[in-house]
């Protein structure tokens, strides 16, 4: 079981991800709706792992990822991307993200990605 921070600008996606993670026995300790909240809540909550959407208002997921990794190089982050964002995913993996899931996601794929990244 891991303490997970879920960041996505869509309330719907946060709920879907939280439900999937909770069913698998993980604890969702917080949520965020943009890149700024991702950085703030990562520092405040120190989760074991976080899921991070790429396209978000104010600060996108890629910028948030880089900021979080500069503050905490061992941070474990799984990116959530939509189809057609391959170059962004690749940049995130190169920057240090542990894995990615493509939306619309399969619950098993989310759990698998979280499990492998931990």
């Amino acid at each position: 079981m891991a303490r997970v921070l879920v960041v996505d600008d869509a309330a719907f996606m946060r709920k879907m991800l939280s439900d999937v993670l909770a069913k698998a026995g993980h604890e969702v300790i917080g949520e965020g709706a943009n890149g700024n909240e991702a950085v703030e809540r990562y520092q405040a909550l120190r989760p074991d792992i976080m899921t991070l959407d790429i396209t978000m208002p104010e600060k996108d997921g890629l910028s948030a990822l880089k900021e979080i990794l500069s503050l905490e190089p061992t941070a474990k982050v799984v990116m959530c991307s939509a189809l057609g964002q391959e170059s962004k995913v690749l940049e995130a993996i190169k920057a240090g993200a542990k894995d990615f899931v493509v939306k619309p996601f399969q619950p098993d794929r989310v759990i698998d990605a979280i499990g492998k990244a931990l």
Partner: protein, 293 residues
């Protein structure tokens, strides 16, 4: 190529990408019509059935323009139910739309437009980024008619999703059309050149006896050079910088010889490559000696 032809091609590539995502959400229950170029000066959401929800997404990089996806209230309820794994027929159609349903519509739009931006990027040969979706609710036709600024070109595509009508409206500025025409002309020229080169005597195409022979093909993201002492002492978790950026094409090799380049894609959660360039068969080829891939 005329602007109308470019708009139709844009509508087709975007329309297909959007349809693919809608079918994933709707369990296959989605169909689309032909792209319809709307006369200049016509409000993009004129005469839509209300009450309706519109989610709009703008391109933020590479090209300017935007897309609006309009659904009936019932359509949003049914799509949100399907996205949450519920039976759309069980959706309470008398209820007001909740935050979660509007968020689901916005998320669906976001995913449709990301797929559409990927398709457009391929045509234009440059990355097209999208912004987050903005969702609006319209209770009267006037609200819908005044909601978005007019652009010189508008393309509309009708869909049926989970038995409900909906519509994709593309707001296309002039600069976008110029880029599209230029990019499509280049693609056509490449196609003509390629067919001329490979026709006739079929030079470089193996004979029937060789066709079943298996070859090792690989795709290379980038390379790195380092002293052997550094290479053998790399610890787990070390990060090795490669010489290629995320937007650069990846190189394709067959049995150690470079034969083309392409773009990395995700197909059903697995990496795939869309081939964009095939080198002439007689050209000198790079090899993979010393590369990291």
């Amino acid at each position: 190529m005329t602007p109308e032809e470019a708009l139709a091609k844009l509508g087709d590539s975007t329309g297909d990408a959007v349809l693919e995502v809608l079918r994933m959400f709707g369990g296959g229950a989605a169909e689309r019509g032909q792209p319809n170029v709307i006369p200049s000066g016509t409000p993009p959401l004129k005469a839509i059935p209300v009450p309706a929800v519109a989610a709009s997404v703008s391109y933020v990089d590479g090209v300017t323009g935007g897309n609006i996806f309009v659904m009936t209230r019932r359509g949003v309820q049914r799509l949100a139910a399907a996205m949450m794994g519920m039976d759309p027929d069980q959706a309470d159609e008398s209820a007001e739309l909740g935050e979660l349903e509007l968020s689901a519509a916005g998320e669906a739009m976001n995913q449709m437009m990301a797929a559409a931006a990927g398709a457009t990027s391929t045509v234009l040969g440059e990355e097209v980024e999208i912004g987050p979706p903005e969702t609006k609710f319209f209770s009267t036709p006037d609200e819908a008619g005044d909601a978005y600024e007019l652009t010189p070109h508008v393309v509309s595509i009708s869909y049926t999703v989970l038995d409900e009508p909906c519509r994709l409206v593309q707001l296309v500025p002039n600069a976008f059309i110029v880029k599209m025409i230029h990019a499509l002309a280049e693609l056509e020229a490449e196609a003509v050149g390629s067919s001329g080169q490979r026709g006739g005597d079929a030079q470089g195409v193996p004979g029937a006896a060789l066709r079943p022979v298996a070859l090792r093909v690989w795709a290379e993201l980038g390379r790195a050079r380092m002293p052997v002492g550094q290479a053998v002492s790399l610890p787990p978790g070390a990060v090795v910088d490669l010489d290629a950026g995320p937007d650069e094409p990846i190189q394709l090799f067959v049995n150690g010889r470079r034969f083309g380049s392409g773009r990395l894609l995700l197909v059903e959660n697995e990496w795939a490559v869309r081939v964009e360039e095939i080198l002439p068969v007689t050209a000198p080829t790079d090899t993979n000696q010393g590369g990291t891939h």
